[in-house]
């Protein structure tokens, strides 16, 4: 790999031992990829803090220091190095529990204390404690063409596709190295040619609601896997999809498949026209999405749903926007969550504080639901005791929860989910 003079200096230790270890990891990683060089980045999204007993024991064995945890888990360095302040703007992603709800999340006080220590350490180094899978909602909105180093598949696909910024799906160690060096391998979606569409998805029906966009995303991801689809409608996309729709769409496509980049003609920034999205190439395949495909996708997402009795309704995957919390509050105001059911809604901390001020948190709590932060049921593996069947308005969560926890899942609209929470029954008709 070709290194600039500044990168060579970091490799030679001029930035200190932690920066040297970070460069060493980036060299090993870049060469593994077959990258020719690194690219500058000033925007990292990552998991940095520690939430597991294994990491706590690991830290204890090495004197309890958080530098030992960062050295191993974020830099792949077996030598413990002192971690300097981060060079890049760094946003913390979601974690394995909501530290404000240890009982509901089934974690011990000791682990919450260890987490709090690691959060203080990360914040002290410069991490923004956003604690969300949707950093683009709370202050990290990269601009078109900005080179980023992000983890979290639903955030990666939003970053590339909706914002037109450039990132691969990074991991804990590569983002750790990027924080200290401001570098990441120049490979994959950092390069123009890899961002062009390979597959066309032709819409034969209108795609309108948040549920509609989730269904289309799940269908598309399943068929294109890791390749780059472009969605278009001969009649033009009807209503312009907003943040909740595109957030759900990308999350679904990166769950049923590994989509990290898509285009929507006339909507996303690198697809003003179909020709622009495709470059000069013919598509590998043209897929048609009509009523039959929509129905088959609905059946597939609902494949585990059998029992009508619902014990748990989870909303907020990816983390809810303030608009979605407003909608949920309107739907549930004056109603009560059924005694056999619980309603958990997940959102970033910053948006929860807005919901607190707006009075939405109180409306949801008065109805018997709860607004939580930092995590979700798939990340935490936490659901209310006795949960057999869940209702969800997220195709991504419906994809993961049955696999992770062995529960049945129903997928439908937000209104159907709020109804399920208040009646304890799933009455969602077929989409």
């Amino acid at each position: 790999m070709h290194l600039s003079d500044e990168e060579k200096a970091m490799m030679d230790g001029q930035g200190g031992p932690a920066v040297q270890k970070a460069m060493d990891l980036l060299m090993r990683y870049g060469e593994a990829l077959g990258a020719e060089r690194l690219v500058e980045t000033h925007n990292v999204c990552a998991t940095i803090t520690s939430t597991t007993p294994f990491q706590r024991d690991f830290a204890l064995e090495r004197g309890g220091g958080m530098d030992a945890v960062f050295s191993e888990f974020s830099l792949d360095s077996q030598e413990v190095v002192t971690i300097p302040k981060f060079k890049t703007f760094t946003s913390h992603l979601q974690l394995g529990f909501d530290p404000g709800q240890p009982e509901r999340m089934g974690v011990s006080e000791a682990i919450v204390e260890f987490y709090a220590k690691s959060e203080r350490h990360a914040a002290g180094l410069g991490a923004q404690i956003m604690n969300t899978c949707t950093p683009y909602q709370v202050g990290n909105i990269p601009t078109r063409g900005e080179h980023c180093a992000w983890m979290e598949s639903s955030a990666v696909v939003y970053c590339n596709s909706v914002l037109g910024a450039r990132t691969n799906t990074e991991g804990r160690e590569s983002t750790g190295a990027a924080m200290l060096t401001g570098r990441i391998p120049y490979w994959g979606y950092h390069l123009d040619e890899n961002r062009l569409a390979t597959h066309v998805v032709e819409l034969d029906i209108e795609v309108e609601s948040v549920e509609d966009w989730g269904l289309l995303g799940y269908y598309m991801g399943d068929l294109v896997q890791e390749r780059v689809p472009v969605v278009r409608s001969r009649r033009g996309i009807g209503r312009v999809p907003n943040l909740p729709r595109l957030k759900h769409f990308g999350a679904a496509a990166s769950s049923s498949g590994g989509v990290e980049m898509y285009h929507i003609v006339g909507i996303t920034p690198e697809a003003l026209t179909l020709e622009q999205a495709l470059g000069d190439r013919a598509p590998v395949e043209v897929l048609r999405y009509g009523e039959a495909e929509r129905r088959a996708t609905y059946e597939k997402i609902n494949a585990t749903g059998r029992d009508a009795d619902i014990q748990y309704v989870m909303l907020g995957c990816p983390h809810y926007t303030i608009e979605q919390i407003w909608e949920a509050a309107q739907l549930i105001e004056g109603r009560k969550v059924h005694e056999n059911c619980e309603l958990w809604i997940f959102t970033p901390r910053a948006i929860k504080s807005l919901a607190d001020r707006n009075g939405y948190t109180k409306i949801i709590e008065d109805a018997g639901g709860i607004l939580m932060t930092d995590s979700c049921s798939a990340m935490s593996r936490a659901v209310p005791k006795g949960t057999k069947t869940v209702a969800l308005d997220s195709a991504k969560q419906a994809h993961y929860l049955p696999a992770i926890l062995g529960v049945q899942a129903w997928f439908g609209s937000t209104a159907q989910c709020i109804d399920a929470a208040c009646t304890g029954r799933w009455n969602g008709s077929h989409a």
Partner: protein, 153 residues
């Protein structure tokens, strides 16, 4: 690929590109299905746990893992990283599809790894074969478990 008929066993040789250096030997564990890290493996035992995966319940600890590539969450590298710390990592990894997930995962697993082969390892290697991976030289030597030289007479 060269096939050399030794006295006892058929030995095949593959050539590939180094992803992570080093030399390792072990029994092959082969799957045609991509592997998920987060939500796909249990690093305490090195076992594949994904529902409906053909390797579900099988451990790759100390084996030469032969597979198409990685899929799923960005937690792929972190899970294989923990598997190394817990002593359950594969001895070596041979795969076809290069992604950031598997490149970083292979690097932090410290397991000798190769890709870009002259022949598809999924066609040449079966579970139970003895495999020697020399990632420095980009060479994989496969001793077939079932095919004694006489079988090919």
């Amino acid at each position: 690929m060269n096939a050399v008929v030794s006295e006892e066993n058929l030995v095949l040789t593959l050539r590939g590109r180094k992803v992570v250096g080093g030399i390792a030997e072990g029994e092959a564990l082969v799957t045609r299905e991509r592997i998920s890290g987060w939500g796909g493996i249990d690093p305490r035992t090195g076992t594949v746990i994904e529902t409906r995966h053909e390797l579900r319940g099988q451990s790759f600890a100390g084996k030469v893992l032969v597979f198409p590539g990685a899929k799923g969450s960005s937690g792929w590298s972190a899970m294989f990283h923990v598997a190394r710390l817990m002593g359950t990592a594969p001895a070596a990894m041979l795969f076809n599809e290069m992604t950031t997930k598997i490149a970083l995962g292979a690097v932090v697993t410290h397991a000798p790894s190769l890709t870009d082969f002259d022949r598809d390892p999924l066609d040449c290697i079966e579970t139970g074969d003895s495999v020697r991976v020399d990632a420095e030289r980009g060479i994989v030597e496969i001793t077939k478990k079932n095919k004694k030289s006489g079988d090919h007479a």
